[in-house]
Symmetry: C2
Subunit: 334 residues, 2 copies
């Protein structure tokens, strides 16, 4: 697949360089570590720091979500690879304002190891208290009884947003961790893949699908899904995704959710709105109230084709944080 | 190419339906015409109405740009096809607040005819004064001496933003038209195509390129560009695009611009930021000041691969409007 890049080994550095130069009012790269990006504003003393991160290639996640209302810092890994402990640690030191730092990241082996190690070092070296919230929203990646084994995908947007808004409100580290964990507990995602992406360094597709095939439950790095089959009309795909979510997290009449229909990279907004249309019909028929909707590219896999549907079940506390404003280079909410 | 759709003949209707249901706080579809979408807010008496529109398939343009700070209404055509006069006329009537309505649209035969006809009908039938601003930012589509023959592409974002902000400020129709025309006069875009899109109804690619080919100056509907050749590294592509823009609109040291690096659909944010990085280097070397940067999908061609670079030369008046806030379903600025 053709890409607008220079040296494939330098794509992440050049992306970060361009990003920092495009948004100097919003973000800055730490001189201590070129993979640590933090908010350009001076955050208030006593504000819990919110740190996110993971592999590159998911833009706007994670790099694009630094700013008021979302994260204070991000550690940027190579494509589809966890950032090492160093940039996590340096970003932690930079954003700590005496009230501790929460890490929000997906449930992947590399991230667990590296964020875990950075947390230990932050406490040992710099006496910074760290809370860890591991996102596990991908219904397809493990059975219901083992939610803690599930991968984190598009639902990380909601967990980051909730943590960011709670920290802006002045919540303590303990409370930011509590509410971020609640957000994760009440978030479910189901995705479908239509076409692969290719890694800049290899040019090889990340997985194989036949010309008229789709794959339900495919992971954000091409991890195998739960079912391959003929491509279905959008309404049937949406039916399947929502069905699997509701089987996992039953929602009754009058309950309230926010909906995220997320594009994986090359799927058009036209298609995403067609999928959303059916999601809304289903929820409406069941009397489930949609409080707010998000439709677009929130967590991609390079130029992968497909989408995911995420539901977060809202109580009053989560509603407030989902509604809170945000001002990041790749996500703004008024 | 695989698409998440239902009946290919219903994609635009279903997209509009999903869009209206996703953003009821922002927009509503007129009962008089299902292709007319207007802002959900009550705009102030005496505010000049801003109406945009064009073919579908360019999302977030044009549908996504309805809201405070941008347009008050949009007329939605079929894929890559101008909306007929009717939805334009109905939207005009709905958004007129006694101060007239400005139409901002691209320089295409169908749009010229249909917006022109709607403007006449609005004046005849409803006594609404209409100003027309035709966007002609695509450097590749006609020579310098014939700017008025050029097509409108990503630069429509800036012209719409300037018109929207000027109308919010209370400018008269004459002044909104003046400043929108100034924005168009000072805006230039050059694009590059890497891979085609396919229309839902035919499934056929919109143009042909060899596996390692790119095309400079390709239009937003697959109109032929000015040069086909081997795919170059991103820096050389950026060099070429910026060179052609500056040859057309010379910018001296100390002059101020806003930059838009726009993705055509399937090109990743990673690539767009790599392109932006080089654009910034070039402008920086020349002492041209970047006041604000926009990087992302602002005007697409379904899932086409490639990008465009747009520069708008800023004076104080345009700077104010480029910086003004906006709150649309697909574009928010704080």
């Amino acid at each position: 697949m053709k890409k607008l890049i220079n040296n494939p080994n330098h794509v992440v550095e050049e992306m970060i360089d361009g990003y920092a130069k495009a948004h100097p009012q919003h973000v800055r790269v730490l001189s201590e570590n070129s993979r640590s990006i933090v908010t350009a504003r001076e955050t208030a003393d006593g504000k819990v720091g919110v740190l996110i991160g993971g592999g590159s290639g998911h833009e706007p996640a994670f790099m694009g979500y630094v700013g008021p209302g979302m994260a204070d810092g991000v550690a940027v890994g190579n494509i589809f690879a966890s950032p090492p402990p160093d940039p996590i640690l340096e970003a932690t030191k930079a954003i700590d304002k005496g009230a501790g730092v929460i890490y929000v990241y997906g449930n992947y082996a590399g991230d667990l190891m590296n964020f875990g190690m950075a947390a230990e070092l932050a406490e040992l070296e710099a006496d910074i208290q760290v809370g860890k919230v591991i996102v596990t929203d991908d219904v397809a990646s493990a059975p219901k009884e083992e939610k803690e084994k599930r991968r984190g995908i598009a639902g990380e947007f909601f967990v980051t947003k909730v943590a960011g808004a709670a920290s802006e409100k002045g919540y303590s580290l303990e409370d930011v961790v509590r509410v971020a964990n609640k957000a994760n507990d009440q978030t479910r995602t189901m995705g479908v893949g239509l076409s692969p992406c290719s890694l800049p360094q290899t040019g090889k597709p990340s997985f194989e699908l036949e010309e008229n095939e789709m794959e339900i439950g495919l992971g954000h790095h091409g991890e195998p899904g739960i079912e391959k089959g003929d491509l279905q009309p959008a309404d049937q795909v949406a039916d399947r995704l929502v069905h699997d979510i509701l089987a996992d997290m039953p929602l009754g009449e009058g309950e309230k959710v926010a909906v995220l229909v997320n594009g994986l990279g090359s799927t058009t907004k036209m298609e995403l709105y067609i999928v959303f249309r059916r999601v809304e019909q289903i929820l409406n028929e069941k009397g489930i109230q949609i409080h707010r909707s998000f439709v677009g590219d929130y967590s991609t896999s390079l130029e992968m084709g497909g989408c995911s549907v995420t539901l977060i079940k809202l109580d009053d506390e989560l509603t407030e944080f989902v509604d809170a404003p945000a001002d990041c280079p790749m996500y703004v909410q008024r």
